[in-house]
Point group: C2
Chain length 373, copies 2
C-alpha cells in the first residue's frame, strides 16, 4: 500500500447521461489505470446507459480520460492517492486502507452514489474492505464469491460459488449460497428457473462429508419456495456441463476447482498453439482455420467471463482479474451493469431473508411460495 | 454383482516367458473382457518381459485369448464367475465378493503369484477389497489413490494424491502422501529428486486450513531425509505446471480437482472439434493440420495417463478407467509393469516406515539421511 496523502477532493466533473452508476477502482490492477480507463471507454461506447465514478490518482485519471472523446462527460473522477497492492495483507488494509482508491470505490456504493463497485485489485483486501464498509446482509454468516464458468449451457456459463471468500462452509451457509447463486443466475444470466447442484465426490446420496449430506436435505427442501430446481449432488466433471446453472461448494474446494479448470484450459490452449506452430503445413492450416480458432478462443477466453461477484453484503462488488486488460475490464463492467439494472441487490436480500427462515425452520415445510426474485 | 457359482478351477495353462507377473481383472469394465484382452495383447506384443494372470469367465477368456497368436503362452487364466458391477456397494462386495474376478485378481497379489493387480472395475469396491485382502501397510492410517496429470514437466506428468480413497486427511496422513507420492515419482516416472507441493488456496504460509499449516511444517521437516524437495503450498493452477512433480491433497479436494480438470479438457476438446467442423474451409484446414492435431490429442489423451495407483497397502493395485479401451488398458498395464519392475512396493514400505518415525518425532530433527528409495 502506498501512503495516502491528505484527502484532497481532486478534480471533479459532473457526470452526465446514463441511468446506472458504476463505481470503478482504477488502481491496483497488474496493468495499471490506463488499462482500466481503456475498459471504461470500451463499455461507455457500447452502452450509453452507464455512468462511472472513477477512483484513483486524480491528475493521472483526468489525463487518461480526457484523451478519449466524450468520456469525460460520463465519468466523475474521485481522487484517492493510496493504492492497495497485490502484496498488502487484508488485515493491514482494514486498519490503514482509508484513502486508497479501493476504499473510495466501495464507499461510493455504501453512500448510494453507485449501485455496484468494480475493482481488479487484491481479492483478499477487496473482500475485507467490502465486509467492514458494506457489512454483511442480515442473516448472512459467510459472504461468498461467485464466478462464471464456461459450460455447455445455452447461456454459455455456469455459476460457481463460493470460490474463495471463506475456506469453510457449513450446511446453512451452503443453503444461502444456493439461494444467492440462484438469484444471481436469474438476474445476472437471465435464467428464469435456475438448476442448483451441490458439488461432491459422487452423485450417490451416501457419499461425502456430513455437512454436505445435511446441506443436501436443506437445499432440497428450500428449492420449491426458493424458485429454483435442485438437481442434487454434482461432480467436478459437471462443472462445464449442462447439468446445473449454479454449483454450490465451500470456498476452499471452489477455489481449487476454479484454478484447476483455468490451469487446464490454459495448458490445452498452449499445447494447441505449439501443435500449430510445429511445421509449415500446420502453420498454413492454422491460417486457414483462423476464423474457427478465433471462435474457439472466444468461447473459452477467460477475459469474457471476467468478474467474480461478492454476494451476501449490503451492496454488490465485482472483482475483476488482476491481470485483466481493457476487454476483461469491460466484461466486468458489463456484468456490474446487468446486476445493477436488474435490481439484483434488493432481490438478493429478499432471498437471503428467505433462506434464513428455511434454515431456522430446520426442515419445517413452508407453504409460502415466493415470487421469482 | 452376479452370483459366483461353485469355485471351479477353470482352464489353466502354465504361463511362460517374462519375468514380471501382472494380475488382471478382465471383467467389470464398461467395455467388457474383449477390450481387456485386447489391451493385454497390446502390452504382450510391446513388452516380452510381462506374464499375465487373467481373472474372469474362464471359457470366454480362453476363447478371447486363443484368438490372439502367441498370447495363450503368456497368460494363466483363473476362472471366476462373479462380476463386480459399477452399481455394487463396496460394503456389499466386502461381505459377498469372494468368487468375483476382482477378488481373485487381488488374491494373486496377496499370494505372491503376481506383483501388481490391474482392474477397470468399480473403484470403491476395488479399494474396499484391496483394503480387507491386502491390509494397510504398518503405520498407514489412510491409503491413497494417486493419479497422473498431464503437465509441463519433462516427464509430461505430475502425480496427484489422494484423488478419492478417503474424503478426509489430517496432517500425518498428508505427510505419508508426500512420502508415498515421492516414492511413486522415483519408481513410476523415473524422477530422481521429486519436488512435492501441498495443494492450498494460496501460496502464502498463513493461508488455508489448520491441518494444512501443520502438514506444511511436517512435510518441510521430512523433505531432507525423505529424498524429495518440498516446494511449499501450490494452487489449483499449478496442477498442470512444472512447479512440482507430486501434489498432495485430501481425497475430497483431489477428486474434485481431477474431475474438474478432466471435464475442462474435454470441454475445450469438444469446442475445438466443433470449431473445425464449422465450415468447409475449417474442415480443409483440419485435414492439413491432422498431424499436429493428432500430436495434440496424444499429449492430452486421458487413455495415455490411465491408471490410478492405490498406495499404502501390502501390495500394489492399479485402477484403470472403467471406460478404458485396449489402449487405455495397455497404458495401465505398462504402469503396473514399471512399478513391479522397480521393486516399488518394498521401497514404498520403507518410506512409510520413515514417515511414521518423522510424524512420531513431531518435528524432532533426524540426522539419518535415507538412500533414495
Amino acid at each position: 500500500m502506498t501512503a495516502p496523502d491528505a484527502q484532497s477532493p481532486g478534480p471533479r466533473a459532473p457526470a452526465s447521461g446514463g441511468s446506472v452508476v458504476i463505481s470503478v477502482d482504477a488502481m491496483g490492477g497488474d496493468r495499471g489505470p490506463a488499462a482500466v480507463v481503456a475498459g471504461i471507454a470500451e463499455s461507455a461506447e457500447k452502452n450509453s446507459e452507464i455512468r462511472f465514478i472513477v477512483h484513483g490518482d486524480g491528475d493521472l485519471l483526468k489525463r487518461l480520460i480526457d484523451k478519449r472523446r466524450g468520456l469525460a462527460e460520463r465519468c466523475d473522477i474521485r481522487h484517492a492517492s493510496g493504492v492497495v497492492t497485490m502484496d498488502d495483507k487484508p488485515s493491514q488494509i482494514v486498519r490503514k486502507g482509508e484513502g486508497t482508491s479501493m476504499w473510495s470505490a466501495i464507499e461510493s456504493v455504501k453512500q448510494g452514489e453507485a449501485t455496484v463497485a468494480v475493482s481488479c485489485g487484491n481479492t483478499g483486501a477487496l473482500m475485507a474492505l467490502s465486509m467492514i464498509r458494506l457489512r454483511k446482509l442480515p442473516g448472512v454468516n459467510r459472504p461468498a464469491i461467485a464466478c462464471l464458468w464456461p459450460s455447455r449451457n445455452p447461456s454459455g456459463f455456469n455459476i460457481m460459488l463460493d470460490v474463495g471468500a471463506d475456506i469453510r462452509a457449513d450446511a446453512p451457509d451452503l443453503l444461502q449460497y444456493a439461494m444467492m447463486g440462484a438469484s444471481y443466475a436469474r438476474n445476472g444470466l437471465g435464467v428464469p428457473d435456475p438448476r442448483v447442484g451441490l458439488l461432491n465426490v459422487g452423485t450417490e446420496e451416501h457419499k461425502g462429508r456430513a455437512e454436505l449430506k445435511e446441506a443436501h436435505e436443506l437445499i432440497g427442501q428450500a428449492a420449491a419456495t426458493g424458485g429454483f430446481a435442485y438437481v442434487g449432488f454434482v461432480e467436478g466433471g459437471d462443472l462445464p456441463s449442462a447439468r446445473a446453472d449454479v454449483i454450490v461448494t465451500d470456498g476452499f474446494t471452489g477455489n481449487i476447482a476454479l484454478k484447476t479448470g483455468e490451469g487446464t484450459a490454459k495448458l490445452v490452449g498452449d499445447f494447441l498453439r505449439e501443435a500449430f506452430a510445429n511445421s509449415f503445413m500446420s502453420k498454413f492450416a492454422a491460417l486457414l482455420a483462423m476464423t474457427s480458432l478465433k471462435r474457439l478462443q472466444k468461447r473459452i477466453d477467460p477475459r469474457r467471463v471476467n468478474g467474480g461477484v461478492f454476494l451476501g453484503l449490503n451492496g454488490t462488488v465485482v472483482k475483476s482479474h488482476g491481470s485483466a486488460d481493457a476487454t476483461g475490464i469491460s466484461a466486468a463492467i458489463k456484468l456490474a451493469f446487468q446486476l445493477a439494472k436488474s435490481g439484483f441487490q434488493d432481490r438478493l436480500a429478499a432471498r437471503v431473508a428467505q433462506s434464513v427462515a428455511v434454515a431456522q425452520a430446520e426442515g419445517g415445510e413452508s407453504s409460502e411460495k415466493g415470487a421469482a426474485t
